[in-house]
């Protein structure tokens, strides 16, 4: 009833092409942003902000990046962690080596470096397809793991190979309280998400999807596979790189290559699949699900005051998590995003389905 679009007429193609063509959607999204920017920083506990929301935001950004590659361009990648690592270490080097380097700029440069490497590791995709490509991308993963441990220059010759940053600030705004960190990430993520959305609904986005759905036909109507695929790799690793830089700078503050291990890559792939391939919104759903679920499961015993042996608890966590993943793929292989849209379909008629 509330969610009816009839009576809303588009008088221009421009109006028809906006992100949320339906008024109710716009209302909700605005309300939601207001909540995120104004209410949450005030209300949420420090634990909530530092241990859940910040990681959630950062990994959503990474998931968006990965989704562009896997969901929109149909190239499976298991090497996302690598590109996060490149983003993080590149940003770190710009930060320490160049005096007075603005924080934002070093983050972006992190993204740029990861873009370059992303394109490099994207080249095989012109020849290798599907699962073969997926496994091949692991080469990137293990190579970067190694490179950042071995090549001292990247870690500014720190004896242990672990690096750290602190005193984050933009134009005098010192980002140190949890709320600051949260807001900083939130802002950045919103901007990136908007850009990502614009790309996927622009013609570059259509080229990616064309490659994904039917590459021969795409070539015949004049899309260059090289350009389409590599641009997807580039854009994807750019966002992933920025996310990596944020993960290091804002969330961890001090990190080692292990922070971007292969488990991270799998975790992100989970987010994209569970959230929904080919959906920006879905990336957020996926991230929320994958981050919060284990923590919730961990905490359950304490909330209900059941004294459970730590080992047992985390075994159970693993089992439930794994089982839920499978359950999800079974009930809704197209992810939370699809659930979301079907829900909206239903709501159009609700409460009078007939």
């Amino acid at each position: 009833m509330l969610y009816r679009e009839n009576g809303q007429f588009k008088t221009s193609y421009r109006a028809d092409q906006q992100i949320f063509p339906i008024r109710q959607d716009r209302v909700v999204i605005v309300a939601f942003l207001a909540l995120a920017f104004v209410v949450i920083p005030g209300l949420a506990s420090e634990y909530m902000l530092r241990a859940i929301l910040v990681p959630f935001l950062i990994l959503s950004l990474a998931a968006i990046g990965l989704n562009i590659l896997v969901g929109y361009c149909g190239q499976i990648s298991l090497g996302t962690g690598a590109f996060m690592a490149i983003g993080a270490y590149a940003a770190y080097n710009f930060n320490v080596r160049i005096e007075g380097m603005p924080l934002l700029l070093s983050l972006v440069m992190g993204g740029v470096c990861s873009t370059a490497v992303g394109v490099l590791f994207g080249i095989p995709s012109l020849r290798i397809k599907g699962l073969y490509l997926a496994v091949a991308t692991l080469a990137a993963q293990f190579f970067t793991d190694w490179a950042f441990l071995r090549i001292k220059w990247f870690t500014n010759d720190s004896s242990s190979g672990s690096v750290n940053v602190s005193g984050l600030q933009i134009l005098g705004w010192h980002i140190d309280t949890p709320a600051d960190k949260y807001l900083f990430c939130l802002g950045l993520v919103c901007v990136c998400a908007l850009m990502a959305k614009n790309l996927v609904r622009g013609h570059i986005g259509r080229e990616w999807m064309a490659m994904r759905d039917m590459d021969v036909a795409a070539a015949v109507i004049g899309i260059r596979p090289v350009y389409a695929k590599l641009s997807a790799f580039a854009v994807s690793s750019f966002f992933v790189g920025i996310a990596g830089a944020l993960w290091g700078f804002v969330h961890l503050g001090s990190w080692e290559p292990a922070a971007f291990s292969i488990d991270r890559s799998f975790q992100l792939l989970f987010m994209v699949i569970i959230g929904g391939l080919g959906s920006i919104m879905g990336s957020f759903f996926g991230a929320a699900f994958i981050i919060v679920l284990p923590i919730v499961l961990d905490n359950l015993p304490y909330w209900f005051g059941i004294p459970v042996d730590t080992a047992l608890a985390s075994h159970l966590t693993n089992m439930v998590f794994g089982a839920l993943i499978v359950f999800f793929l079974v009930v809704e292989p197209h992810g939370l995003a699809r659930l979301w849209s079907t829900a909206k379909e239903k709501l159009r008629l609700w409460p009078f389905p007939h």
């Binding site: 320490v96 242990s160 923590i295 304490y302 730590t310 659930l339 829900a343």
Partner: protein, 443 residues
């Protein structure tokens, strides 16, 4: 908001989860007890080593309570599983911090690095007994880090000295080949600077052989060992890497007597299933070795016999178990020392505990009273020195048990001090920190 209604179960679970989490920590802030967070890894790749440590740690806390708490203040504690993963560790830190934690023992070099950035802001001291960043021994820069009873640089130096003794004098090391087989991570790389320093000074040749974590595949590493035949092999592994290394050594016929492990490579899980194959293998005993002393019997009597034991009773007295006991004891003693200044029988804050740890004075008498006689040497910290002691012993695996094979060895301050200072200053420069002033030390 109607739109959210039809979203499926999982989405709802997440939402409710978020809501619950928002409120969760607050519900746990209670003040009459001294809360000890316990970061453990009882699962995953490093569980075999993590479990006994965790059991020892918890058993000691239970023991303290059984003996009436810290001057009457009962200890409450909560475990959090890190699985040795940094981001999980950070999550645990935030969670337990919210429940009133006043001292953390990260139990992982990676997590230590991450928390070193957070602790000063939250005013919570970190005890990293026998691990963490070696330069953090310099309390002038690392106000909140306490690598009590030894860092990796101490370990490396003691090993070099012990090898020297075997050879009959450090000068005999000239021209010798020493290979470092290390876990390819910040943990494994910690000793490298000191060893390079020593090799320059003593003129032995240092070979670095990294092993990719977790270290299940080391054939090529040991082929290289066989190829360039080093006189000694230092083993800087953790978890499965240790036992695998010993097995490969056996398979490539490298004499185990020539192998020296760090104190994280010298416990029962590392040699248990190699058995006879590891006979003659040497490793550092941080301060304590294996075997039971007064404190263990107390634990057995007051905790295990009451059916409160965290792990199996036969585990009591194993190397990592005892290290758990010792680490917990150091934390508790820190609180006790703080109470001497800020009021006996009170619950200490993070800052007060920090003072306690910085002014720790565990003389022999105190150790005897605690039942740690023969387990460890006295420890006394100061503003300048957050380590408190730089002694260690070496023990050797007989095929059945660990037996001490060296006397106490003290790491060479002449080498360590300048290195620690230099590294600490570099850190300070990077972070634009200034050294603490004497006044600050008094506070």
């Amino acid at each position: 908001m109607l739109k959210f209604k039809p979203l499926a179960s999982a989405a709802l679970l997440v939402a409710s989860g978020l809501a619950a989490l928002a409120t969760a920590p607050a519900a746990f802030a209670q003040a009459k007890e001294q809360f000890f967070p316990v970061l453990v890894y009882r699962t995953g790749a490093y569980a075999p080593n993590g479990v006994p440590f965790a059991n020892g740690y918890v058993d000691y806390l239970k023991l303290v309570n059984a003996k009436g708490g810290i001057n009457g203040v009962k200890i409450s504690f909560e475990e959090c599983e890190t699985g040795y993963a940094t981001d999980k560790g950070v999550e645990c830190y935030e969670r337990l911090k919210g429940k009133g934690a006043t001292v953390f023992q990260p139990l992982s070099t990676g997590i230590t690095f991450a928390l070193t950035e957070k602790a000063p802001i939250d005013k919570i001291p970190l005890i990293t007994a026998g691990y963490g960043r070696s330069e953090s021994a310099d309390g002038g820069v690392f106000k909140w880090n306490f690598p009590l009873a030894g860092t990796y640089w101490v370990a490396a130096d003691v090993l070099v000295q012990n090898i020297g003794q075997k050879e009959g004098g450090l000068d005999k090391l000239k021209g010798k080949k020493i290979a470092l087989v290390y876990h390819d991570s910040p943990y494994g790389k910690e000793p490298i600077p000191l060893l390079t320093e020593r090799s320059k000074q003593l003129g032995f040749e240092l070979q670095l052989l990294p092993v990719t974590a977790p270290g299940v595949e080391q054939k090529s590493t040991w082929l290289q060992v066989r190829q360039n035949k080093p006189d000694y092999v230092l083993l800087w592994g953790w978890g499965v890497m240790n036992s695998t290394a010993l097995k490969e050594a056996q398979a490539t016929g490298y004499p185990r007597e020539k192998m020296y492990g760090v104190w994280w490579s010298g416990a029962e899980p590392d040699v248990k299933d190699v058995g006879e194959g590891a006979k003659g293998y040497n490793a550092l005993a941080m301060q304590h070795g294996a075997g039971r002393s007064k404190v263990h019997t107390e634990v057995l009597k007051l905790v295990h016999e009451k059916g409160q034991g965290t792990g199996p009773a036969e585990e009591v007295g194993t190397v990592l178990y005892t290290r758990g006991l010792m680490s917990a004891m150091l934390g508790v003693e820190g609180v006790k020392r703080a109470q001497e200044r800020y009021g006996k029988g009170k619950v200490m804050t993070g800052e007060q505990v920090r003072w306690g740890l910085e002014n720790l004075a565990l003389d022999q008498a105190k150790l005897d009273a605690l039942g740690f006689a023969g387990v460890m040497r006295p420890i006394s910290t100061s503003c300048a020195d957050h380590m408190g002691a730089n002694w260690a012993r070496v023990h050797t695996w007989s095929g059945k048990a660990w037996q001490f094979s060296s006397d106490w060895i003290e790491a060479d301050a002449q080498i360590l001090k300048p290195m620690v200072k230099a590294a600490a200053d570099k850190y300070a420069a990077e972070k634009k920190l200034t050294r603490r002033t004497p006044e600050d030390c008094q506070s």
